[in-house]
Symmetry: C2
Subunit: 295 residues, 2 copies
Amino acid sequence: MTERLAYFTEENSAEAVIDRMRDAKNPRLRAVMEVVIRKLHEAVKEIEPTREEWLEAIRFLTDVGHKCDDWRQEFVLMSDTWGVSMLVDAINSRRPTGASENTVIGPFHVEGAPEYEMGANICLDGKGEPMVVHGRILDVDGNPVEGAKIDVWQANDEGFYDVQQKGYQPDFNLRGVFRTGEDGGYWFKGVRPKFYPVPDDGPIGALLVELGRHPYRPAHLHYIISADGYDELTTHIFDPDDPYIGSDAVFGVKESLLATFNKVDDLARLDEMGFGAPFFWDVEFDFVLASAAAG
Amino acid sequence: MTERLAYFTEENSAEAVIDRMRDAKNPRLRAVMEVVIRKLHEAVKEIEPTREEWLEAIRFLTDVGHKCDDWRQEFVLMSDTWGVSMLVDAINSRRPTGASENTVIGPFHVEGAPEYEMGANICLDGKGEPMVVHGRILDVDGNPVEGAKIDVWQANDEGFYDVQQKGYQPDFNLRGVFRTGEDGGYWFKGVRPKFYPVPDDGPIGALLVELGRHPYRPAHLHYIISADGYDELTTHIFDPDDPYIGSDAVFGVKESLLATFNKVDDLARLDEMGFGAPFFWDVEFDFVLASAAAG
């Protein structure tokens, strides 16, 4: 007999399961599973599910699993819409005061986007309301960071990334890589982004409906900013006037990441930027990198 | 803007997600999800997973989902081996002191098993060590319960149920339904059961290995006992001499469900039972039903 703990009871349920993992090979796995089992049993004890509710939970998880394939990750969507992805991101990107905050990378980053000169227009099809984004890459003491790599990507004004509309949007539309000079400054042209839904035709979308939630992410631009000696920054900037700015379906918004989108209809500036449109949006945003040592 | 709570932060993460469910249609679903989100965020905050560990968890859940089909339920196996199925069973079968305890039904119950006269042999292929099981169905005051339906099923001495060995075992092998008379007594013949593994060729089996656990369930017989006016009892009786009695992979063992398997080699009794074997196993076990009102 390999008996050690008393038999399983309602009271000792988590301890009985945890005790059984005493011979786990990997101490980290054991520690992780101990927390998982303890919290899971706490949840079940607080919920007191009926047998039918338990079965419903099994069915839900099975449906989520069956929705996953090479192109769709419904468990990531579960993690995103339940705030877990942002929490894991927050835990892994704690930074000193003053440094720019991280947010989730999302599923639409693509390696190998074209590298442009400052001022280039990453909007390759001319659709949407023109936008100029500019600012500086600084260290926490306010000094410019030279040689920072700025990898930016955004959805078009219909709310889709190029990879979601292959053939309709040009390849690498609204993506670009820029490198800062001595002044740490950057600038490029794009289009004003628009809110868009996370994929909501699966079990997670159905759950959002049941919970009275919408699937939308407020308009944003994505950035990965890296420089030697600094902590890599993966973040967005957001349009504070977006109708969903207070209810991002994946909880990615942070107050420090709200930009201002200023409408410019001054003819001289329109001319300077080479826009034929009657107006453009001007967005100024500085990013502050933490030194690698701080992380 | 639909902003109400402050933006998501590491500190307020669970509250930010829970606040978003305020318009849920079903108050029970809202209450359940509130606990799920709160405990899930507590777990993540305690574990502090790296991004890679988070991805590993996503991959694991995806693998569990992909293993599920019409014949295999890997999430149920997860629930079973993590003690959740037994906990849900315990929560839904709290009974007054003295009443027999429930345990999990398992995946091998079949409706429509043949109804037999008391004393019948449910072992249709004659394989294994013969066993006689007998006892009484009582109420909590010790009175016999007349007209109780006893639905019994068990694995053969190789550790397989008939439905797992179709064609090799006769249909309905080691299954039977019996009804008690005025004395509440029951008896039938079978074979001594043997330990067997839960399905361990999937991600849950791989996790058991990592956790230093085995996949075995100790030898047992399954019962569903029902009678008008009484709480239905779904349970097992266990062989206390089984090598896995203290480490059931699904935590189904309860102290009150340990039976005694007595070896009988008395020739007169062997003759009386009509066994040609040199011995048989005698198992006596009484079940006590709680009145339906008590549940």
